[in-house]
Structures are given as C-alpha cells and as structure tokens.
Amino acid sequence: MEAILETRKLSHIYSAGTPFQRTALQDVDFTAYTGEYLGVIGHTGSGKSTLIQHLNGLLKPTAGQVLYQGTDIWSDPKVTHQTRFHVGLVFQYPEYQLFEETVYKDISFGPRNMGLDEGEVDRRVRRAAEFVGLEDKLLDQSPFELSGGQKRRVAIAGVIAMEPSVLILDEPTAGLDPVGVEAILGNIRDYHAATNATVIMVSHSMEEVARSVDRLVVVNDGTIPFSGVPREVFRHGDELEAMGLGVPQITRVFLRLRALGADIDPSVYTVEQARAAILSALGRKGAV
C-alpha cells in the first residue's frame, strides 16, 4: 500500500520556554495509506487532537516532519496552504464554525477559497450535501435554524465539498443521539466507499471505531504504543484498559470467557463475529 500522509519523528511542545511548557507529542511516526479507513483512538489529552492538527498544517511541528505524498508540507508556505485543501479536517463540534446566511453559502466557503469557478463550486456543494443527506430545500435556509444533527452535517459537508484526498474527522459523533450517530457514521462510510478517499476518524470510543475501520492507531501520552487491524490491537486488552480505553464490550465478554477456561477465540469485536465464534466453539464441542 502507498503512504499518503506520514509523520517522521514528530514532536510538539506547547508554550515552549515558559513555565507552562507541556510536551503533547514525542517522536511520533504515523502513517496513513491511500484509500484506507483509519481509526485514531486515545483518551482526552492523549495528544490525538494535536496529532491531527499537524496533518493539515494547522500546527507547526516543534521537531520532525509531516509529509503529504512524500513532500514536507512545511517546505514552502504555498505547499502548506494547499495541504489544507488536500487534507480536509472536520473539528470536534464543527457546527460552531457555521457563519453564513444560508447553508449553501456556508458549504461553498471552502471550495470558494480554493478559487474554483462558479459551476464547479455549485457541483461540489450539491454533491457534498447529498453525501451527508441534506435535502435540496435546506440549502436556502439559515444554518442557525437547523437542528443540532443537521448543523453538524452542514459543517461536515463544508469540508467534504473541498473534495480532499484525506478526510479527517475529530469525534464526529460527539453529543449526538444514537440515531444521529448511526446516520453520520453511515454518511462517512458511504463517502469512503464512493470516493476512495483516505478517511481518518478520531474517537475515544472503541465500539464506534471498531465497526468501521480497516486499521487502528492507538495514541497514548503523546506516543503511538500500537497500531494494526482491530483484531491485533484488541489483543492488548489489558494495556488498553490501563490507558483508560478498554475494548468493545463483546471483546471484553470473550476475554472473560477465555479467562474462565472456555476454548474460544477472543479476538472478536462485532456481534456477528461473536456469533460465528460461539457457533464454531459449540460445533467443536458437539463433535467431541
């Protein structure tokens, strides 16, 4: 697989040289591959938000490099500015960034900053709105009249409309009700499937991430202790628990069953996998 975004020995220190100095990232080597759906997981204050703000050049590394398609994004101010369009970042609670009179205008803010012509802007706005399930009639409304969940979709559409090759979402489901959570996760999956863009989803909820992603990166204390496919990462159940992350509930049940002496494969993280694992274990028993 080809790497699209990489960090090399990335370190970041906040308020360096003052009494409030704090190291947020320490020699982090992070890689995202073209077209993958990547989950970044870590508890509050682990450094995950600092990490993703480096990926599109919002924060400048104290030490180390950030590479987009092999080019250092800080090599030239123009490259830095362009990186913001290639690597789209949706912040936590993005609805607080809405400012335009209509939904349409707000979504078009990003594409307009890219200097695209009117026709292209229009095409992108409508496509982005469709991806997040916003009906046409909403486009002429004020974003401030919408519900919380709808505002969030508008904000996400505002980034999708730039058609970035890498889409990063920081806790996109925070504060939504279960229906809203499912809808947003579905939108993101559809977007990933339809565009083949790299999607990076940041979360502190294992349950949520485990179901969608191809690969997981765990951030703890400004470093990346492990990464890999969910199955691999969840083998470190105890260490994850110590970091305050935990594993999905179903995995925890299976780890406990295993500890109680059941002959069962504990590396499951969805209910379907659990069902298959139980059936196969029962099958073996039946054969004996």
Binding site: T18, N56, L58, R84, F91, P94, Y96, Q97, F109, N113
Partner: protein, 268 residues
C-alpha cells in the same frame, strides 16, 4: 504565536507576602501609589517611588521580565506621549528642526511623563499579577460597598466584572479553535489588503458572537437554577479579613503618599 500567550493582566499564583495581603489593601496601595505618582514632581520623589515599586516587584517574585512583557501593548501610547511632550512644551528652544522645536522644558516634561506612565503601568500590573481576579473583584465590591447606600448596583457591577474576567480565557480558546476550523477550510487571516483582512474576520466573528451569546444564556440559566437573585442577603465562602500587616501597610502607605505630596509641593 498562539493567542494563549498573551499575558496582559494575567495572574501569577504565589505565596509571597504581597500575594497574601488582603486585596483591598493592595487596591488601596495602588491608589496611593497612583496619587503619589501624580503629586511627585522631581527626581527625588520619583526615585523614592521607584524604590517602592522595585521593592514591591522584588518581594512579589513576579520577575522584571514578566512586567516588561506586559508593557509591550502600551509601547505605542508611551512613544506618542513622549513625542508630544518633547515637541509641544513651550520654553527656551534648544534645537529647531523645521517647524518642530525641542525645548529644555520639553525634554524634562517628556522624561517625567514617560517615567510616570511606565511606573503607573508597572504598579498596576503588580496588583493584577499578585491578586487573583476573583479576589480582585471581591475587594472592589467590598471597597465600594458604602455606595450601596446610594442605591448604586455595586454587587451587580462586581459580578459582571468577575464573569467578564472569568470568560476571557474561554473566549481566547474559542477564538483559537474557530480560527483553526476556518483555516482548515482555506480561510486566510494573515495576508491581503486591509479590507480583505477585515472581510476575512467575518467567518471568525459570527461564530464567536453566537457562542458568546449561547454561553451567556447557559450561564444565566445555571445561575437561576442555583437561585441567584442578586446581592441582597448573599453570604460569601471566602470572607475578606484585614490582618495586622494589612493595617500597617495601609497606614504606612498613606503616610508615604502624604509625604511625597508635601515634598512635591516644595519642589523636591
């Protein structure tokens, strides 16, 4: 530079004798000091006040560098005042550059005015650097409480002030966050003509105002939920109390201030 690095009026926690003085004592002292600065008229009186200020800074352990850092935003005002005094004080001309005249009196006036402003700022910074915003507003409320007899809304004003102070860091953080979010959508706050830059602020200011109003609304509801109904009959968790050191400092400060006033009168 991140917005968070602004130090203007920031509180530096500590346990020095100055930190432990009652906030009212410190406010009174600062007032004495300001009055004395304007009564002082000549080198000796300024030297005495400078000594007092230096002693205060030394005891508070705030550090000269922090005081200097806080002065940065007022440099422009100081420079303009100095220049105005230098060129527009009537008297015997020393040098004439075109229509500008520099007089001997002008040089004196400019020098004293600059010293006066810088010392004024340094002194008031000493107050805000060593007193937490909450204690500061408590102190102001308590000092102004006699005005309640005249139906002045002292408590309300103090409450507004503490809320404003409390939310400054929050708003700065919020500004930082919204700026980042708009930059991620390609907004450009740093380049372009003045008009372009002013227009670039719209995507920042609209969300900022909306969130400020939302916060204000939430705070009002939260306060009402806890039965806040203004200052009447309200008691405090932290009672302000003058200790012996406070009285000593208040009396001493008053005497010094009067002495400086008298010395200034005799042209010392």
């Amino acid at each position: 530079m991140a917005l968070k690095d602004i130090t203007l009026g920031q509180y530096f926690p500590g346990k020095t004798p100055i930190h432990r003085l009652d906030p009212r004592t410190k406010i009174l002292l600062t007032l004495y000091y300001i009055v004395a600065l304007f009564l002082a008229d000549f080198l000796l009186t300024y030297a005495l006040l400078f000594l007092a200020l230096a002693a205060g800074i030394a005891i508070s352990k705030v550090g000269v560098r922090n005081i200097m850092r806080g002065m940065k935003p007022v440099v422009l005002i100081v420079v303009i005042t100095t220049l105005l005094n230098l060129f527009y004080t009537p008297g015997t001309p020393l040098v004439t550059i075109g229509f500008l005249k520099v007089t001997a009196e002008g040089i004196w006036a400019a020098f004293f005015m600059t010293v006066r402003i810088l010392m004024l700022i340094a002194g008031t910074f000493l107050l805000t650097y060593t007193t937490s915003p909450i204690l500061l507003t408590d102190g102001i409320e308590s000092l102004l409480s006699p005005l309640k007899k005249l139906h002045a809304p002292v408590h309300e004003l103090a409450m507004m002030m503490s809320i404003a102070l409390r939310f400054i860091p929050t708003l700065i953080e919020e500004t930082d966050k919204i700026m980042s979010a708009q930059k991620a959508r390609g907004a450009d706050f740093e380049t372009g003509s003045l008009l372009q830059r002013a227009r670039a602020l719209v995507p920042l200011l609209v969300p900022l105002f909306i969130s400020a109003f939302r916060r204000a609304d939430e705070l009002a509801v939260a306060m009402e939920c806890r039965c806040y109904h203004g200052g009447e009959g309200r008691t405090r968790l932290r009672q302000l109390k003058y200790r012996r050191a406070d009285w000593a400092v208040i009396v001493l400060g008053l005497v010094c201030c009067a002495a400086i006033g008298v010395m200034g009168r005799f042209g010392l």
